[in-house]
Structures are given as structure tokens and as C-alpha cells.
């Protein structure tokens, strides 16, 4: 019993073939754009376009229905609330805005591989690297590690829950979460050592040169060569 970790739906529709960076840029611009206009005459066609895009993905109906339940609740509740508290006109505007965004975002999410989206995000972060606030290699590693250890954390959670249930402690979030967090903290040391042992970071981004394992105190007598040290990024 492991969570499925991607919403991507393999296929060969025009949206599948479109470049990930284009899809994400359009989505971002649409996200800003729809909040700049109020007129249903503009928003209506936008929502229609988003719906057409989503239909072009040819999602199996049952799967599509499952994906749409979340957005549908939002789409039903929000305009309803707007109609009650504000006016019918606001309800229409808000409804069309959300409709455009949620459907278009779902269309992009379904047709773009997670790895492609992450590539685009990494490229988008790259200009920020010069500011020394972002380290693309570290971001890439963090994403990969998270994907690797989400299922692991899930298993550990269930193991702990079973063990606690056996001891009659079921239902106490404190009794569940303390061991989970402690176990994850303990394995962090090993995982970091395993990452370092395989020569992380890659040569192109030696920002965290010699990010030794926590067990390794940096020797006061042998600091890293000055040239490298100047490149070190901060968190």
C-alpha cells in the first residue's frame, strides 16, 4: 500500500507533445491574467478554452471524474458563497476565473511528466543561483530525496502505528509522531553520509564543497582552500 506519486497520464495528444516550459509559462500568465480582468465576456471564452484543452487530453472518463471532484467542490462552493455574500455578477466572474485555472492546470498536470516540470523549475531557479540564495544542485537533490523517502516515511508511519496499536496506544498522535520524527532524524545522518560518499555535489555546482557528514567535524587545522570556500552558498 503505497501512494501513487504522480498525476501524469501517459499519452500522445498535442498537449503531451507540447514543451513543458511553454505549458508552464502559459499557465503562469493565465494565472495572473484572469485576475486582471472581471468581464465574463473575456473570462467565458477562457474557461471554454481550458475545458477544450482538458478534453483534448482524452483522459478515461472515470479517471477524469476522480480528478475533477476536488476542483468541482471548489467550483460549486466558491461561486455559491460569492452569490450569497456578494452579487451574482461576482459569482460569475469568480466561477469563470477558477474554472479557467483549475481546468487548465489539470490539463497541464496530466500531460507533463514530473521530471519535465522539475527540469523547468530548476531552469527557472538558475538565474537566482547568481544571487547565492539558491543552489540548483541542492534543490535537485532535495526533490529527489523527498520522492525517494516519501514512500519510506509512509511505511515507517504504518509500522509505528501497528506497533503502537499492539501496545494499546492507538489514536494518540503524540505517540505516533515522536517515534516517526526521531527515526527520520536518525536516518538523516546515514543518508547524508551515503550522499557524500558518492561524491555529491556534482562538479558543475561545487557550492557545498565538502559538505561532510555530520559525524565529521571539520578540522580546524585544515580549512578548505580559500578559492573554493568563497563560492559556498548559504541556505
Amino acid at each position: 500500500m503505497t501512494p501513487r506519486l504522480s498525476l501524469y497520464l501517459p499519452g500522445d495528444t498535442p498537449l503531451h507533445r507540447a514543451r513543458a516550459d511553454w505549458k508552464l509559462s502559459v499557465l503562469l500568465l493565465a494565472g495572473i491574467g484572469v485576475f486582471l480582468v472581471r468581464s465574463p465576456a473575456v473570462l467565458g471564452p477562457c474557461a471554454g478554452l481550458a475545458a477544450v484543452a482538458l478534453l483534448s487530453v482524452r483522459t478515461p472518463p472515470r479517471q477524469l471524474a476522480r480528478h475533477l471532484t476536488g476542483p468541482f467542490v471548489v467550483l460549486a462552493l466558491v461561486p455559491a458563497a460569492a452569490a450569497v455574500f456578494q452579487s451574482a455578477a461576482t459569482a460569475v466572474t469568480v466561477g469563470l476565473r477558477l474554472c479557467t485555472l483549475l481546468l487548465a492546470a489539470l490539463a497541464v498536470t496530466l500531460t507533463t511528466r514530473t521530471s519535465d516540470i522539475l527540469d523547468v523549475l530548476e531552469r527557472a531557479l538558475r538565474p537566482l543561483e547568481r544571487t547565492r540564495l539558491v543552489n540548483a544542485a541542492a534543490v535537485g537533490l532535495a526533490v529527489s530525496l523527498a520522492l525517494r523517502f516519501i514512500p519510506e516515511a509512509f511505511h515507517r508511519f504504518h509500522d509505528i502505528r501497528e506497533a503502537q496499536a499492539a501496545r494499546g496506544l492507538s489514536g494518540s498522535p503524540v505517540a505516533l509522531l515522536v517515534p516517526l520524527a526521531v527515526r527520520m532524524l536518525k536516518s538523516a545522518e546515514d543518508i547524508a553520509a551515503a550522499v557524500d560518499a558518492r561524491c555529491y555535489p556534482p562538479p558543475a555546482a561545487r557550492h557545498t564543497e565538502r559538505g561532510g557528514a555530520a559525524a565529521a567535524p571539520p578540522p580546524a587545522r585544515s580549512p578548505a582552500p580559500a578559492g573554493r570556500k568563497d563560492e559556498e552558498a548559504t541556505g
Binding site: R148, A197, Y200, P203, R210, A216, P225
Partner: protein, 225 residues
């Protein structure tokens, strides 16, 4: 490769884990044995700069681990005890490629080297599996493959069989025995050491015996258990 430890002391807090150790390791097969807490894992971690000495120096083919850890790690592979924590990427294929990317292997060469390494271990069918879905034995094989794909000259293994069941233990034993590389193996599994060139027995941070396994292993059994 020749690893030399010169008057090495390692402290964690106020406790000395290794005390004034001077050693030269160059034999093809070296075993490290000793009770829990005797310092053998720390000694293993000194060999690729995962732990740096508080006093003294560790040199690998003349390179100081405190200064050239990166260059050393490229040549000294390390296999950890717990396979759950050493596979760091979500898909087996990606995990094998991790070390290669980090060492600057040209991108187009990576897939072929990964395939070949997996095939060599007879686990080519695992290439696209998610790492978390592997069995314990498969995980340890993948971890070993991920180290060997980097073509290290020396492989350090820290209790590679401790957390495995008997069948998987035999699989890993065979894989370790077949390594063409020089290997330093930390273990509680005394059978693993048959045919080794040298066995070091550690106790409370010191080497208390150093010799051929047929003498060192019985010595350890007699004195330390």
C-alpha cells in the same frame, strides 16, 4: 591502493573513538572485526574522509583525506550497513547514475555503464523499479552496484550483511567475494573472512590484534566474546 594512518585519534565529544592509530593498509582483502562501539565503523569512515581525524593524518595513495576528500571518494567506494538509507534516488537506474553524474562522467556514457553494471549483477530487470519497492537483498545489491559503477579502486564495506536474512546474506557474500577490487570489510560475520589476507581486531579504539584470519578470528572469539 595504499592507505596509511599516522597517529590518528578521533573523538566524538569527549569520548575517544579511535586512539593513536598508526596503520598501513594495502592488502587486497582486509577484515575489520570487534565489538559494537570498538571503533571499526569509524575506522572504515576514515578511509574516504566521511570522518576526519581529530589528530593525525589519513592518506590514501598519498592524498590527505582532510584536504582531498572529493578526489579520494571518487576512488574509494563505500557500502553502508543499512540498505534503506543508502539508496538515495527514487528509481534504481537514477540511483546508479547519481555517483556518475557527481564525478563528471559524460552524460551519454552514463546509461550504458548503468546497464552494464546491473546486468553484471543479474539485476537488469530492476532498472526501472522504484527504490522503496525492492527487497532487502535487492536493495543491498543495488547499493553495491551503485558504488561499483563508479569503478572505485578500493571498496569499503561497513557490515554489508548484518541486516540481511540468510539467503540474501549469501548473495551479498558471493558478490563481495567476487569483487575484483581491493576491499576493506567491517563485519560481525566471521565466515566472511575466510581467505582474507589480513584481519584487524579492534577493541575500545585500539587495534588489539593484526594478522591472518586463521589466527586473528580464533583470537577474537577467545578474547572478545
Amino acid at each position: 591502493m595504499r592507505v596509511t594512518l599516522d597517529a590518528v585519534t578521533v573523538r566524538f565529544g569527549s569520548r575517544a573513538v579511535l586512539q593513536d592509530l598508526t596503520l598501513e593498509l594495502s592488502e587486497p582483502r582486509i577484515g575489520l572485526i570487534g565489538a559494537n562501539g570498538s571503533g571499526k565503523s569509524t575506522l572504515a569512515r576514515l578511509l574516504n574522509g566521511l570522518v576526519l581525524p581529530g589528530e593525525g593524518t589519513v592518506r590514501v595513495d598519498g592524498l590527505d583525506t582532510a584536504e582531498d576528500a572529493r578526489a579520494i571518494r571518487k576512488r574509494v567506494g563505500f557500502v553502508f550497513q543499512n540498505p534503506d538509507n543508502q539508496i538515495v534516488l527514487p528509481i534504481v537506474r537514477e540511483d546508479l547514475a547519481f555517483g556518475l553524474k557527481n564525478t563528471g562522467v559524460p552524460r551519454r556514457e552514463i546509461p550504458e555503464r548503468v546497464e552494464r553494471q546491473l546486468a553484471h549483477f543479474g539485476i537488469a530487470h530492476l532498472a526501472d523499479r522504484p527504490s522503496h519497492a525492492l527487497s532487502g537483498g535487492e536493495k543491498q545489491l543495488v547499493a553495491l552496484a551503485a558504488v561499483l559503477v563508479m569503478r572505485p579502486e578500493l571498496v569499503v564495506l561497513d557490515e554489508p550483511t548484518t541486516l540481511l536474512d540468510l539467503r540474501n546474506r549469501n548473495v551479498i557474500r558471493a558478490a563481495v567475494a567476487a569483487l575484483p577490487q581491493q576491499a576493506v570489510v567491517v563485519t560481525h560475520d566471521l565466515d566472511l573472512l575466510t581467505g582474507y589476507d589480513r584481519v584487524l581486531v579492534l577493541d575500545e579504539g585500539r587495534v588489539v590484534h593484526d594478522g591472518k584470519p586463521r589466527i586473528a578470528v580464533p583470537w577474537y572469539v577467545e578474547h572478545c566474546s
